[in-house]
């Protein structure tokens, strides 16, 4: 009997049919996994359910049903120790404004068993963060770097980041991507990076999970997704010729139409007279979101 994929790869995060219903918003049977050693980009527009999913992974909120596993163990109950190996970066800092880098060190070294004081102060130095200044006076970029310094200073094996690059200028964003790249150099280091800035994810992600309206609409290897999807340019009159099974979404323009297809090779064979271009993650995301909205409209 041949080995299945799950036998070969160890998943650091696994979600199986996870449901969380807030009444006005529902995370609906979310299932995906993040293999060890990978960078998983968690894409979705604002309000798609990324933060709720991350909160469920970290057991910050309770799920209504389904299973969430971290390092192979079910989260919940008395499994807080699992978070010993998880570094977390939120979109907002979360530390009290009066706290200095030194105060945070004092707190964290009395919480994490593997807290590395020397590494923490090295990161502060590397990120040019003053250790005696109250973090309430830090810029957004500095606050994010402070969180990353904390997340990396207890020898975490998994980094979970919720929109860490949003609201940052491109130079700081690039700097942060470099930090994440350094982190995943180690084989057993994994990153789950949620963002709506797809260009960042295109640079670093191996896997992509795309969520919209509380549902996973697309997941898989980033390169495979980019390879499979394409933008087919055609005349409006030719739209009916395109097989509906290939269509993710259509955008009609003044003189023609662009069709996002989910099988570029098949489209290439079937419609050799039409122009087929590669699609970027952002374009794919927009087509899926619009298709979802259209479906809901019907």
């Amino acid at each position: 009997m041949g080995k299945t994929e799950s036998d070969e790869t160890k998943n650091v995060i696994e979600l199986q049919d996870v449901v969380k219903d807030y009444g006005d918003f529902k995370l609906d049977r979310v299932s995906f996994s993040v293999p060890e050693g990978s960078v998983c980009g968690f894409i979705g527009q604002n309000g798609a359910g990324k933060t709720t999913t991350i909160n469920l992974i970290l057991d910050i909120i309770a799920r209504d049903s389904g299973e969430v596993r971290l390092f192979g163990e079910n989260v919940g109950g008395d499994k807080a120790y699992l978070r010993e190996d998880v570094g977390v970066v939120f979109d907002e800092m979360g530390f009290h404004d009066f706290m200095t880098g030194k105060d945070i060190n004092l707190m964290m070294k009395n919480i994490y068993k593997n807290w590395d004081e020397a590494a923490y102060f090295d990161y502060l130095k590397r990120f040019s963060l003053p250790s005696r200044k109250a973090c309430g006076n830090f810029s957004r970029g500095m606050r994010m770097k402070l969180q990353i310094a904390v997340a990396l200073s207890h020898h975490a094996k998994l980094l979970v980041m919720d929109e860490p690059t949003s609201g940052l200028d491109p130079i700081v964003r690039n700097e942060m991507i470099e930090i994440f790249r350094d982190f995943v150099v180690e084989e057993d280091h994994t990153i789950l990076l949620s963002s709506h800035i797809t260009s960042d994810l295109e640079k670093i992600a191996d896997e992509v999970v795309f969520i919209d309206g509380g549902r996973i609409v697309l997941k898989g290897n980033k390169d495979e997704i980019l390879e499979k999807h394409g933008l087919l340019k055609c005349k409006k009159a030719d739209l009916s010729k395109v097989s509906t099974s290939l269509i993710v979404g259509v955008e009609e323009e003044t003189y023609g139409a662009t069709v996002c297809v989910n099988d570029r090779k098949a489209a290439e064979k079937l419609y050799p007279d039409m122009v087929l271009e590669p699609a970027a993650l952002e374009e794919i995301m927009i087509y899926y979101v619009n298709a979802g909205r259209r479906d809901k409209g019907h």
């Binding site: 909160n55 910050i60 979360g94 530390f95 009066f98 105060d103 707190m107 009395n110 068993k113």
Partner: protein, 263 residues
Amino acid sequence: MKGLILKDIMCLKKQLMVFGYCIVGVMAVAAMYVLSCRFGNLAAVGGKIIEGAQASPLEVDYMATIPPIFFLLIPLVAVGDMTNVFAADGKASFARVAGSLPLSAPKRLLARYLTIFALAGIGILADILVAGVMSALADILTFGALLGIIFSGASVVAMYSAFAILYCILLGHGKESVAQVLSLLTLVALYLLLRWEKWKEIALSIAASDRGETEGEMSIERLWDFLETLEHRAYIPVLCALFVTCASYGLAVLILRRKRGVI
């Protein structure tokens, strides 16, 4: 867990600074008071009251005991309000960071309860200093009796904090002032409920005294019973505080099972 206790104490940094000034002020006023009671104007007034038979020497002694109780309560109250920690955590949205730490919600909650004891400990140590000054300067109260008052006061403050934590968890962020009022009301209600018969008796005694019935006066003296409890039976409020703290923790854990993101 120790890290969260340290963080909570950092949140109360300003409160602890006020506490420092408070200790200096209380020590000065307490010293002046006990000296006046022993040698100054208050001693003279006490003498005149006894001479004029407006009150018995015992009652004058009791009356003189009331202000030191308040002197000793001030430092404890100044250091013992936990609602500020909830307000600070809410303002910083710290609950999400706390939730990502390798500590379960009951442990995070326990850290907050342990902070109460740490703060009560600071208050007790400061009060012992004040009590030392008071008992060294005059013989209104013995050091032992003052210790009884300190531990009784610390127990009341601990009970208040335990209720405050419970209400903060129940009501969520932004409702700290409501939690403060509810904690005070609960404390008063609990005291009245436990001592209902006594309060009824005192009320009846006062009414009887107003009507000029002699047995009423005998009972009014029992009004001073609480001084006896504070000075010599401090183990009662201490045990009550331990019970209330444990019950409050148990209830808060139950609430946290359903409601997360508060601590």
